[in-house]
Amino acid sequence: MVAQPRPGTLILALGFCLAIAATFFFGYRASRTARHVRWQNEPIQSWMSVPFVAHAHHTRPELLFQAIHVEPNPRDHRSIRDIARAEKLPVAELIRDLRNAIENADRSGPGTIPPSAQAP
């Protein structure tokens, strides 16, 4: 007669398998993201300020302030969401305007984006 494993052993074995699966899952995801770090552009989020977006996309803050019709001020660290609230505009619309301004700046101003960000 084959001995039945104890419930404690089964739980340990299950935990062991789950831990291995989690290690591979997170390890794979980390390596995949790390491989794309160099050439993926930073997505614009509602918590970012305009100077922060300008820095992440290697463009001038004044250009972005102008694109969303806000008085250019490098010390203006309000988030995009706060600006949207103040201007009574949807956040998505401001993000779209900023993205368009960045794309236009990329097209018209060579050297605004580093070579690492232009790779395929």
Partner: protein
């Protein structure tokens, strides 16, 4: 909530940094690694001072850890007494206590920067296990300074890639935790039978 915390950090700088890392150290689930990376990016942009940010992040984290330790010291024992039927007899509890003390320094140090999700639990456990406050504070300070310096420096270097670096480090942290769990459970499963 993450968006609001990051917006507060971008707008208010150091006071927001101190408050958020202290709250995270107490045990509120906040992605503090991403927050420190964003701080490094803000330092690279000239909006915050690099060294002051490291000092403030360390001070905030150590303050939060001290609260967790105090809760464990004065509230943890009562909880353990209540759960003693679940944890085992007095002899077993004594063994667990001794183990917690012997691993204390390394546990505190590595949970500050390498396996950060364990940090708040180690604070509570150290307090409850009567681990020396002075040793706890010393290892805590060393680990938190290293963690703050490491993540803020990474944010400073990769200042235009903060979200991606945050995602990589977040996943790496969980992968390391998975390796530790695999090693511990494997050891219990294959060699730990009594």
């Amino acid at each position: 909530m993450l968006n609001q915390l990051l917006a507060a950090l971008t707008q208010y700088g150091s006071p927001a940094l101190f408050a958020v890392v202290a709250i995270a150290a107490i045990g509120v689930p906040v992605p503090v690694t991403l927050l420190l990376i964003v701080t490094g990016s803000l330092a690279a942009q000239g909006a915050m001072d690099l060294w002051a940010s490291i000092a403030i992040a360390t001070a905030g984290s150590v303050s939060g850890d001290q609260i967790g330790f105090a809760v464990g010291r004065w509230g943890g024992k009562a909880l353990i007494a209540r759960l003693s039927w679940l944890l085992g007899d007095a002899e077993h509890l004594k063994k667990l206590d001794a183990k917690a003390k012997s691993w204390g320094g390394a546990g505190v140090f590595f949970s500050r920067w390498l396996v950060t999700p364990l940090g708040p639990w180690i604070n509570l456990a150290s307090g409850a296990a009567d681990y020396s406050w002075l040793r706890f504070t010393l290892w805590d300070f060393l680990g938190e300074s290293l963690g703050a310096a490491l993540f803020i420096w990474l944010g400073h270097v990769f200042s235009d890639r903060v979200q991606q670096i945050g995602a990589v480090l977040g996943d790496l942290g969980w992968a390391i935790l998975g390796i530790l769990a695999t090693a511990f459970l494997g050891w219990r499963l294959f060699f730990g039978r009594e």
